[in-house]
Symmetry: C2
């Protein structure tokens, strides 16, 4: 199992600068991003406890069932969160993208595993430190609660998708959802980046890899999308939305 690479301790940033010296720009940008996600500009308090961390593709850095010792915030790349059944069946319960938090549940064990889809940069916090910070700052807690309830809404939407909608509807809704998530990060585009593999989409949508592939092919044959490596381009906005719409 590949190890998580801790590129920076609170006082030793990736750039190699030493304590007391001014911020490494990359780390500063990342810390600020997490602060922004928490709705704050009080960088110093958060920066005292942040560990800047990197993970290569397929590195598993949260293991279902293990003691929850860290809270993460994604700053670059895409992370997949999944649950495994004992016989190997897998359900991906979500993709975490820049700005998202992982491991927020106040349980002492992780309920899922998480690994990097591509190269990922993360801010890591010791749970104890993070809890102290949140306890001291009720508006952080409020923000986290907003995150949690938003994730709950997404999860309920996903239950409906998986429980009651056809393969074509699931794939279309997934494409639309991915496009909206990227739009919030990078601005709107007709090209929907899909850094994850087909098998990840399948395990997220409760389908098989073959069904996902066939469904994408069908959407392409119908002139609704164009399949390109690592992405799809939307050709017919209206029809894609019509299929995805509940």
């Amino acid at each position: 199992m590949t190890e998580l690479i801790e590129i920076a301790h609170p006082r030793v940033h990736a750039c190699g600068r030493q304590p007391g010296e001014s911020y490494c720009d990359t780390c500063k940008v990342r810390s600020l991003a997490v602060c922004a996600a928490l709705g704050s500009e009080e960088l110093p308090e958060l920066d005292r406890i942040v560990h800047h961390t990197r993970a290569e593709a397929k590195t598993t850095f949260i293991h279902q069932g293990e003691t929850a010792e860290s809270v993460f915030s994604v700053t670059e790349g895409v992370v997949r969160l999944y649950k495994l059944l004992s016989d190997g069946r897998r359900q991906i319960i979500g993709f975490a993208m820049p700005g998202d938090f992982l491991g927020l549940a106040l349980h002492n064990r992780y309920g899922f595993s998480a690994d990097a889809v591509d190269h990922v940069a993360l801010c890591r916090f010791e749970r104890r430190d993070f809890d102290n910070l949140v306890t001291a700052k009720p508006h952080f807690l409020r923000r986290l609660h907003e995150f949690a309830t938003h994730e709950l809404v997404i999860a309920q939407e996903q239950m409906t998708l998986i429980g009651r909608r056809s393969a074509e509807e699931r794939v279309a809704a997934f494409l639309i959802a991915m496009r909206e998530r990227w739009a919030r990060i990078k601005g709107p585009s007709v090209t929907i980046q899909l850094p994850m593999q087909r098998i990840d989409m399948a395990d997220y949508l409760g389908l098989t890899i073959e069904t996902v592939s066939r469904t994408l092919t069908k959407l392409a044959r119908d002139g609704i999308i164009l399949i390109v490596p690592e992405a799809v381009r939307v050709l017919d906005e209206r029809r894609l939305a019509a299929i995805a719409r509940a």
Copy 2:
């Protein structure tokens, strides 16, 4: 659409007692239950804003898409939460039982509908009042955040159930989950109360009513459960758990 019956305003309890008089016992017990759920004994503050409410079976009291004006806490009975697709397909996203909260998401519209499976008693709060209370009491906020993250864990479990497990596994897991929830409320029992209809189980598990019925019949034929009205009795603990286990 049946109306929600507000049986008591803060100062006019169900028993008919008037302001200034001592508590109606039933209302007091219910208010206390909600306080306990919030991890507090500061009854007066909460009681100032609670509306004791009742709903008959099938009364819909949360409508998906409407402005979220109330927060509820169930004190008696079972509530089903569901999302409807435009063509009538329904996904039940959860059952709320005594002690559970509804409408906690900090969104201005409800993301689901809720109605009473059987006769239900609820404590209702105006969202504004509830928010003020929570903002004033960070430990309430913390408790609510715990609720939200716990619900998220349940929702993720359910995604896995619906996305990756067979009909028999879903039904067995549902029975075990229901038994554990009742056990926390009423203490352990080999009889699992099932106040909801087959169609509700089906819409919760992403199956059809026929499949639920057939699966229960199969479990009964295999000597694992005994089907009785409104409930099932567990005959073979071990085998049921083995099927339900992930």
